[in-house]
Structures are given as C-alpha cells and as structure tokens.
C-alpha cells in the first residue's frame, strides 16, 4: 500500500522550533511520515513531546518552521487536514455527563465515519461491554481512556496522533492499543505516538525520534 518516495511524504515538518515561556524546547527539528509509518517520540518529561505532537496536528503554532500535509502548509488546508487526523491528548475529551454511547456517536457524526462497524461493536472491542449507557463520569480513568480509543475504530482517518496512549491502561488495554495500531498501519495509515513504554508492533517500519 505504501508507495515509497514518489509522492511527497504525507506529513512533513521542516525545522520547527518550539518555545515554552523563555526556554527553547527544540529547534531545527524536521521529520516526515509516510503511509504505513509509525513514529515513536521518546524523551524525558518536559522535553517537548506533547508540544511537538500539538504542533504536528495544528493545535499549537511553532515559533518557526512549517508543517505540511500532502505537500501544503497545514495553516492553509485547515479543514481538509483535520478531516484526516485524530489527536488523543492527555485529557481524553470524553464528556462526563454523557454516556460512552452518546460520546462515541457525537464523535463519529462529526468526523468521516466508518460504515463497517457499529457503535456497540466498537465499545465492545475496547472492552466497555455493559458500560455503554452509564454516565462517563462514573467510569474509571482507564475506562474513559478506552472510550476515547473507541473513536479510533469508528472513524476513517489516515493520521493518528496519540500522546502517551498507554497511560491509565491495564496490560490488556496496552495490547489492545498495539493491535489497533498494527491494524491501522497495515491499512496504510500513519501514527505519531509519544510514549515511555516499548511498543510491540510486528513488521512495521518504526521511525524513532529522541527529544533530548
């Protein structure tokens, strides 16, 4: 599925620099991501992993440098870029007053939905069977993280940007995420993941990025 170097890389960042207050977290950083790639971003706390991910998906503005999606600057093609992207940050974006089912159906209605899976199947696949109609605030942090992960199953999106997806997940949750990642990459998807745990994803070309 991945067509090598002929096409420009789907996601490309060219010497981006990030400033936090007075400190320069990183500068002159360039990276590129092609279909089928998994980029692992590692580094100690405060090294700017989250800032880098937020810059890549356009939530934050780099103090210099440019981020391109399919060859055009993301500040120009805002809507098209966001239609092909999902970002899971530290706080999971699940509304406590709504049930997982309602949360998921809203997320799917706003994005490009996949037709081949129903909401209940997705919730079941992430291990929330039986919790579909309970207000999300009564769920544990791990369960709320799973509701957020279920969004990855119900939407058809090429780029996943995951900020430490394994936090608050038990071992079965970690293997679940690894399986989802493998499936996504196999279908020509891309992912940028920041994490401290080693990610066991078989025969996938992993690009490692170390932030000092």
């Amino acid at each position: 599925m991945s067509n090598g170097g002929a096409m420009p890389p789907s996601l490309e960042a060219v010497d981006i620099e990030c400033e936090r207050g007075e400190r320069i977290l990183f500068s002159g950083l360039s990276l590129s991501l092609r279909p089928g790639n998994l980029m692992l971003i590692e580094g100690p706390n405060g090294s700017g992993k989250t800032s880098l991910l937020r810059i890549l998906c356009g939530l934050a503005q780099p103090s210099s440098g440019v981020v391109r999606w399919r060859g055009t600057d993301i500040t120009q093609t805002r809507d098209q870029f966001r239609a092909e992207l999902i970002y899971l940050g530290h706080n999971h974006g699940v509304k406590g007053d709504l049930t997982p089912y309602e949360n998921l159906s809203i997320a799917r209605d706003l994005a490009c939905a996949r037709q081949d899976i129903t909401l209940d199947e997705a919730l079941d696949a992430v291990g929330l069977a039986g919790f579909e109609d309970v207000p999300a605030r009564t769920l544990s942090a791990g369960q709320r993280r799973r509701v957020a992960l279920a969004r990855l199953l119900v939407t058809e999106v090429r780029l996943w940007v995951l900020d430490e997806p394994f936090t608050a997940l038990d071992t079965r949750g970690v293997t679940l995420v690894e399986r989802m990642l493998a499936g996504h990459l196999a279908q020509g998807g891309m992912a940028a993941v920041s994490t401290h745990h080693p990610v066991a994803v078989a025969e996938v070309d992993i690009v490692r990025l170390e932030l000092s």
Partner: protein
C-alpha cells in the same frame, strides 16, 4: 472513504450535543433566570413602589438586568469543554471553527436569551410598563440578546484558559455591550413615552448583523489561541 459531514449537519450535531449536555444539568439553566427576576425585584425595594417612578426606570432596569444575567451564563459556554479536553477535539473537527462558535452561541442564546425573552413581560408588568412598551421590549430583547451572546462568546473564548477568568470576562465584555444597552433601553423608553422605536430597533438589527459576521471569526481565533 466517506466524506466529512456538511456544515449544517455538523451544526445540528453540535447543537444537539450542547442541548443534551445542558439538560443533564438543568439547574445551571435556571440560575441566570432566577438572577434576572431577583435583580429586577430589587429595584422597587430600593427605589420605593411608586408606580410612575418605576415606569420611568423600567426600560433601563430591565435591560441592565437582562444584560447582567446573559453575562452570568457566558462562563458555561466553553469552560467545561476546556476542562475535559473536548474543546481541543472541537477545534480539530473537520468543520471550520466558526461552525463550533455559532453552535455554542446559538445554544447559549436558546438557554439564556430566549428564557429572558419569555420572562421579561412578567417583570415589565411588575414595573408598570405600558403594554405597547412591552411589545417593543420583546422586540428589542429578541434582537439584542443574540448580540450579547455573540460578543460574550469572544470574551469567554479569550478568558477560557485562565483560572479566575470570571471578573476579567465582565471587564472585557461590558464596554462592548454598551451600544446594545443604549439602543435596547432607548427603544423601550421611546415606546413608553409614545414615540416610534423603529430607528432603535433597526440599529439593533444592524448590530446583530455586524456581530454575526465579526464574532465567530474573533471567537474562533481566540479559542485557537487559548487552547495553545
């Protein structure tokens, strides 16, 4: 690959989402309305029950009270979404940002502006306002309260990232409310003294159109800045 939903379907989804959220916390909708009633009843207690004094002050009192209670409920527009991270998700939705802002403003108006509109005639009677002045009051509130929500959305979007943004929000938003207050209260005052209020209402309409075109852009830009 299926296409992302159109603007109007997304608007519909967002409005349904916010109404659903609001109904789960019914009390929060009532608070600003109770505040509106209490503030209006304070004035006769402060100024004395004398009818034609109250009648003379009624337009100003009703409009200032409506303005304050609309502002009171602004905070809820983005705050809970900012707290749990869903504001980021809304900013990353395929639809342009102003769709999100318009949906939020419309919901805020449905839950605060519209009830004010329904309550206002009752309170106007308490202040002995004449019937045709009440009609103009309703017209001016119908045109004015959306402007309050739109301009308020800019203020909230600017201060959503701050811990104690409440007081700052009123400092930012109240000066911008002054033209609406002048035109709104002026319309009711003109009607109460038997003059035509057409000019005031048309200016209110102009303010509505202006803020409809300016506020979504400004609030969208402010949201993108506050989320950074």
């Amino acid at each position: 690959m299926s296409e992302a939903p159109g603007l109007f379907t997304a608007l519909g989804v967002l409005i349904r989402r916010d109404l659903l959220l609001a109904l789960r916390r019914r009390a929060q909708i009532l608070n600003p309305l109770v505040f509106f009633v209490i503030v209006v009843t304070l004035f006769p207690l402060g100024l004395g029950p004398e009818p034609n004094l109250l009648q003379k002050l009624a337009p100003g009192v009703l409009w200032v009270a409506a303005l304050l209670s609309a502002m009171l409920s602004l905070e809820a527009m983005f705050h809970s979404d900012f707290e749990d991270g869903s504001l980021e998700q809304l900013l990353l939705a395929p639809q342009p940002v102003f769709i999100t802002v318009i949906a939020k403003v419309l919901t805020h108006w449905l839950l605060s502006g519209l009830p004010l509109l329904l309550l206002a005639p009752l309170l106007a009677l308490w202040l002995h306002l004449s019937p045709d002045a009440i009609v103009v009051l309703l017209a001016s509130l119908a045109l004015g309260t959306p402007v309050l929500s739109l301009i308020g959305a800019i203020g909230v979007a600017l201060t959503v990232g701050l811990r104690r943004g409440g007081v700052l929000l009123s400092l930012l938003v109240l000066p911008l409310y002054i033209p609406v207050l002048i035109m709104g209260a002026g319309a009711v005052d003109a009607a109460a003294s038997g003059l035509a209020a057409g000019a005031h209402l048309s200016i209110l309409g102009a303010l509505l159109l202006l803020s409809l075109s300016l506020a979504p852009w400004a609030a969208g830009a402010a949201l993108r800045i506050s989320v950074e």
